[in-house]
């Protein structure tokens, strides 16, 4: 068994998602457990409800605007919940709570790093995204630049992020279902793939949004319930909780301050950059800003999302701390009843064991179902973002030069989501036994170094030209990939070399400035007549960015 554990190394923790590779304290393969019928039944209820919603949404999804952006008819509050849903993954629930459980305060620092991007998105991006974009962030990047080149670049950035993120989610789903439901790996991958394609092709953005909203409410509700039940055992006193946690933890009082996880400043700052600006470059999150009717609702949605994410991170931290006492001192949750040994089901289980300890099998089943539903909702959002990049950016605007009909575009989009679904299932099965901890770090690195620089420069810097945007994007993409491949997480862990060529695992602190510098340098040196025109067009773009006058897709519902 240990041999299996050592040989196989898919990381549930990092794999389950938004959590980057460097956040993974333990990389492990899960083992199939006994069937959990509570969890399976509750998950079945979730699936039925979401399929009902998809049927309802399908009748309301006729045009391209419906399909890509739910007709711009989502309210700020709904969209805020959906954004929070896109951001709070199974990794947030399981991974971050286990990080707090093992490392204490270091886990809290991660939570804060994950959170700090939201105010920046509010101040600098939300309104402009809404006012300038239609369906994809490439709409904004190519607003005054060359449609074909910039859209192709943006679509490559989007698809790379989507595919890597999808593989990570798929492998995470497979590991999770073995652990929580007691079903085989492949069944999870196929279930996730099939449902994702159904949601996206039939229900488009409307169904995807509602799946996300329901999941966000379940996750917030379930997490809060477990936290409150656990916290009540400490009389709702923080000091009481902390002192008992310190007493129970092997590191004692050290868990109340920063530990070794972020001791290296380059790693710490790079982590912060990657998380902050990577989030601001995730295509499925950016796409959410086009589903609201105007800038007012876009702002409201970030406000709601920021609240939900911040609240949930606090809940997760409290869960981790309470688990130190309630789970950590209970031999029933450890292999062979040894509380110094391995936890049953692996290192990502404190939140689940805590749910069992305070609420029995029913609460455990509920939380398991929610964790799986969470993956399902996130992959649906990703698949839609990928399909939109293919149909709206590549097909309609690059191949057809903007001359395709809406009907064709939507048809291509549905076909693309099918292809993405098949690809995701295939890759999910292929990657089962690979160590994929690096994938999430890579995803955030690319989003921060390729998507984000192009997007923010196109919105804020008059001088950006097509050449600058394309070269900046290429340099960001290539350098982020190169750094991750040459670092320990791929070069040593996956490829089996003795020592890494590049000492740091976080690409952002290097690749982001490289991308910006390239975009600036190439744009500044660009003396072509096209460049002059592009710079001139910024003035009109700025008016629309500020006022929303002429913005696409106002609400029709």
């Amino acid at each position: 068994m240990t041999g299996v554990m050592a040989r196989l190394g898919a990381a549930l923790f990092a794999a389950t998602c938004a959590l980057p590779a460097w956040a993974a304290p333990a990389v492990e393969q899960t083992e199939q457990q006994g069937r959990n019928f509570h969890a399976i039944a509750m998950f079945a209820v979730f699936v039925c409800a979401t399929l009902g919603i998809t049927y309802w949404a399908a009748n309301r999804t006729k045009t391209a605007a419906d399909f890509y952006a739910a007709g711009g008819g989502i309210t700020g509050v709904q969209n805020g919940l959906a954004i929070a849903g896109d951001y709070m993954s199974a990794a947030t629930l399981l991974g971050l709570s286990s990080l707090v459980y093992t490392k204490g305060y270091d886990g809290f620092i991660y939570c804060i790093s994950f959170y700090a991007c939201w105010p920046i998105i509010m101040f600098l991006m939300a309104e402009r995204l809404r006012n300038l974009g239609k369906y994809t962030f490439a709409d904004i990047a190519s607003y005054r630049l060359d449609q074909k080149q910039v859209r192709t670049m943006a679509a490559i950035g989007t698809l790379t992020v989507v595919i890597f993120y999808l593989i990570a989610q798929m492998v995470g789903a497979g590991q999770l279902i073995k652990l929580l439901f007691g079903l085989p790996y492949w069944s999870a991958v196929v279930i996730v793939g099939v449902l994702m394609v159904i949601y996206v092709t039939f229900g488009g953005m409307l169904a995807t949004t509602w799946v996300q909203i329901i999941k966000a409410c379940l996750l917030l509700g379930g997490g809060t319930a477990v936290m409150l039940l656990a916290f009540s055992q400490f009389g709702f006193s923080f000091e009481n909780l902390f002192s008992q946690a310190v007493e129970a933890h092997k590191d004692g009082i050290k868990i109340m301050g920063p530990g070794t996880l972020l001791a290296d400043p380059v790693t710490a700052v790079s982590l912060g950059l990657g998380l902050m600006f990577g989030t601001a470059g995730l295509p499925h999150i950016l796409m959410r800003f086009f589903t609201v009717p105007n800038a007012v609702e876009a702002r409201k949605s970030v406000f709601i999302a920021t609240f939900c994410v911040g609240f949930f991170f606090c809940v997760v931290c409290l869960m981790g701390l309470a688990a130190m006492v309630i789970v950590g001192k209970n031999p029933a949750y450890f292999e062979g009843g040894n509380i110094l040994g391995k936890m049953l089901g692996g290192g990502n289980m404190p939140a689940m064991h805590l749910a069992h300890a305070v609420g029995g099998n029913l609460l455990l089943g509920f939380l398991s179902a929610v964790a799986f539903a969470t993956i399902l909702a996130v992959v649906a959002g990703l698949a839609l973002a990928g399909a939109t990049a293919i149909s709206h950016d590549l097909y309609a605007n690059v191949v057809k030069g903007g001359k395709s009909t809406e009907k064709e575009e939507v048809r291509v989009s549905k076909m693309s989501s099918l292809v993405i679904g098949v690809l995701a299932v295939g890759l999910g099965i292929l990657f089962e036994k690979m160590n994929i901890a690096f994938l999430v770090g890579l995803t955030f690195g690319i989003a921060a170094s390729c998507n984000f620089p192009i997007l923010i420069l196109s919105m804020y810097w008059k001088g950006l030209t097509t050449r600058g945007a394309v070269w900046g994007g290429i340099v960001g993409l290539v350098s982020a990939v190169a750094i991750v491949v040459l670092s320990k997480s791929v070069w040593v862990t996956v490829l089996g070399n003795a020592a890494p060529i590049f000492p740091y695992e976080q690409p952002a602190i290097f690749s982001m400035p490289l991308a910006f510098l390239t975009a600036w340098l190439v744009s500044t040196l660009d003396r072509s007549p096209r460049a002059a025109k592009e710079k001139e067009a910024f003035a009109d773009q700025l008016v629309r960015a500020q006022t929303g006058f002429g913005a696409a897709g106002a609400a029709r519902h």
């Binding site: 620092i109 700090a116 920046i120 101040f123 902390f242 007012v296 911040g310």
Partner: protein, 103 residues
Amino acid sequence: MSSEIYEKIRRNPRFIEMVAKRNRFAWTLSLIVLVLFYSFILVVAFFPKLLATPLWEGATTSVGIPIGAGLIVFFWLLTGYYIHRANKEFDKANVEAIKEATR
């Protein structure tokens, strides 16, 4: 068609003033968040002991806890403040600029 209207809006002095104000406001708030967040990260990297100091004598709770929680709450309040000013002030200037230009 819209190019002419954009031109008019662009020349509207109240629009120009609003853009300058909004830019200053948005960048100031962003700077506050960035400076606070990266100072926190640098304290974590260079002076971790600072955050581990007990909140009061004999307490288990360290100063890092309220500081971290404070950052989360403060950042959220800042987003609320931004919305408040954008809804009240900036949007009004926008509506007027558009109205004047399309008259």
